[in-house]
């Protein structure tokens, strides 16, 4: 560390974070978001539905990635918050007659408020037990929804107020919500990882004990990530069930979302935004091509997850980035020496 002779001026250094691959990716990302916003003018309703599904996969997977990849909180129960926000939307818009597009934002309060007591209970369980604990919480939510009369119990609810809007108006809303979902989850995570919290988070990912000794408030950071991920998943839930127009307890709290998120993140590459995009695209295409094979298709997905856990823990993006150092969302800080002043 003491490479510089005493007495001489400290060398001038600059911190670089952006790379040329990152700049290209950022432009492509901006174009993709604009493309999402403009969907009603270039895509059919069916295509918009498909892209909405893809955006939901990306968003949920990225939330799981923040939890498991950075905060060390492996959850298999994020569907709890998707269902909670979905139900909140249906109650606000259908029962109380609030404008559904306003209700979507208000519905995010439900996961935010519910995440706090959930975390206070669950953080007492460590590692693998935390994961199963989150599953129990999701089951409690599902069973509670099946028993509550004002949620229409097991029969579920319909969002018939959407009939007041024309098909084009709904397409515009869905496209804007897709763009928002991607901006908030992918853009938001990128911004967060580049901020000083991101630095703390990366330190925590590498070694929580060492990070704590460096002054990182690990507990507070984990709590923040848990609540943020709950809200992120809530947004996906609200948007997804608004598009579905129907909600009932088994679909609202479907553990399949956890399977999808884990598959996407593990196969794509954990602890990287690039991995989520790659994994989501693979899952989306595989689902289109092989979805008709039903059970045997899920056997293959399950076995692939086992294989990744056994022998390729950094996933596809891990293998790519080992060969080519061209991150799409660079978060590393590079120190470069500038010319010394005379």
């Amino acid at each position: 560390m003491t490479a510089f002779p005493r007495g001489s001026a400290p060398p001038r250094v600059q911190v670089h974070r952006q790379t040329s691959s990152g700049r290209i990716a950022l432009v492509l990302f901006a174009l993709a978001v604009i493309g999402l916003v403009a969907m009603p003018w270039w895509a059919k309703t069916g295509t918009i539905r498909m892209i909405l599904e893809l955006c939901c996969y990306i968003a949920v997977a990225q939330m799981w990635n923040m939890l498991a990849g950075y905060a060390g909180l492996v959850s298999v129960g994020q569907q709890a918050f998707m269902g909670a926000a979905g139900y909140a939307l249906f109650v606000l818009a259908q029962t109380f007659g609030i404008n559904p597009f306003l209700a979507i934002f208000l519905s995010l309060l439900a996961p935010a408020v519910l995440a706090v007591p959930c975390y206070l209970l669950l953080h007492r369980l460590d590692g693998p037990y935390f994961a199963i604990g989150t599953w129990v919480v999701a089951e409690v939510f599902r069973l509670a929804a099946s028993n509550l009369g004002w949620l229409n119990a097991g029969a579920g609810m319909s969002l018939s107020v959407m009939k007041d809007y024309s098909a084009f108006e709904r397409n515009v809303a869905m496209s804007l919500l897709c763009a928002l979902m991607i901006l908030v989850t992918i853009g938001g995570s990128y911004w967060f990882l580049r901020s000083r919290y991101g630095l703390a988070l990366i330190a925590m990912r590498d070694n929580p004990v060492a990070a704590a000794s460096q002054g990182v408030d690990v507990k507070r950071l984990r709590f923040m990530i848990y609540v943020a991920a709950a809200v992120g998943c809530g947004l996906v839930g609200s948007v997804y069930f608004m598009a579905q127009l129907r909600i009932n307890p088994p679909s609202a709290f479907d553990p399949m979302w956890s399977n999808i998120a884990i598959f996407i993140v593990m196969v794509g590459g954990i602890a990287s935004i690039e991995g989520v995009l790659i994994g989501a695209l693979i899952y989306f295409i595989a689902d289109r091509w092989f979805g008709e094979y039903g059970a045997s298709y899920f056997v293959v997905l399950g076995l692939m997850t086992v294989l990744v856990a056994l022998s390729a823990r950094s996933g596809i993006w891990g293998m790519i980035s080992k060969r080519w150092d061209a991150p799409w969302f660079p978060i590393r800080r590079h120190l470069t020496l500038t010319k010394e002043t005379p």
């Binding site: 199963i132 604990g133 059970a295």
Partner: protein, 285 residues
């Protein structure tokens, strides 16, 4: 009287849950691994047992004699092929691996046995009951409870008294120190998983005698086993047994209050224990 009846039924139900929970307590206590496919293994063994019974015309206890060695072998293979490669400080790989295995197993079973519910014919044993002081007690649940007590007692004794039990506890406390005294941790782990899954061989027979099994049921069994272990206190065999009793009794009383409330009542007691006594009823701090 009605509540006393619920209590008795709850204890009997707890006997069933104890048979799931023992294996989980053993695996977590020794390797700090939570096997997410725990419940799916019960269902797999049940379905294999049902197929055996129907194709060879075997009685339930003959099926058990065939199923337990099969379960032991399955556990051994599971540890050798998968878990030994992911066990370590970081809980993520083992969790993800067993999660993927659970997904694959569930859908494989769906492929082979279809989504239908099945049960094991017990030759009349499942419907016989004894009347004691105005309460009818099923003969089968009593047998389940007796087996559960026997298994708990045997497992506890094995951990405390045998050479293998000492090796297991040593490996659980400190792998490296245990290795220095000549204990091969991987061998110990393989035996531990074999025993944990072996116990599920008993559970599978009783589960399919008591009620029906379908490929998608594994998740619920995993959650019950997990709740019992946490309520009882981690790392204690009798604790897991006691936790199963608490869970069984809570669910039975919940079902009496409202049929939709039974399972939820069990979850709520689990959360209550987590809030007030996170180390569990019998856990050490």
């Amino acid at each position: 009287m009605q509540w006393f009846d619920a209590l008795v039924q709850g204890v009997l139900l707890g006997g069933m849950y104890a048979q799931y929970a023992l294996g989980m307590a053993l695996m977590f206590g020794v390797m700090k691994i939570v096997n997410v496919s725990h419940g799916d293994l019960v269902i797999l063994l049940s379905l294999v047992g049902i197929s055996l019974a129907s194709s060879f015309g075997l009685g339930p206890f003959t099926v058990m004699v065939a199923l337990v060695p099969l379960a032991l072998a399955l556990g051994w293979i599971l540890q050798k092929a998968i878990l030994n490669k992911v066990v370590g400080e970081d809980p993520l790989p083992s969790l993800i691996a067993t999660f993927g295995l659970s997904l694959a197993l569930q859908n494989l079973m769906l492929q082979i046995w279809s989504a239908n519910s099945r049960s094991l014919p017990g030759g009349g044993i499942e419907s016989r009951s004894i009347e004691i002081g105005g309460i009818y007690i099923g003969l089968l649940p009593v047998i389940v409870l007796v087996f559960a007590i026997g298994l708990t007692w045997g497992l506890d004794l094995m951990l405390k008294r045998t050479r293998f039990g000492r090796a297991l506890r040593a490996a659980a406390a400190d792998v490296e120190a245990a290795a220095m005294t000549g204990i091969d941790a991987r061998k110990v782990y393989a035996s531990a998983t074999a025993i944990a899954v072996g116990i599920l061989g008993f559970a599978a027979v009783f589960q399919s005698l008591r009620s029906t099994v379908a490929p998608a049921d594994g998740g619920a069994q995993l959650i019950y086993a997990f709740e019992a272990v946490i309520i009882g206190g981690m790392g204690s065999i009798w604790g897991a047994f006691a936790g199963s009793m608490v869970l069984g009794i809570t669910q039975a009383i919940g079902f009496r209050i409202d049929p939709g409330f039974g399972v939820l009542a069990g979850h709520l007691v689990f959360l209550l224990v987590l809030a007030t006594r996170p180390q569990g009823l019998f856990g050490k701090v």
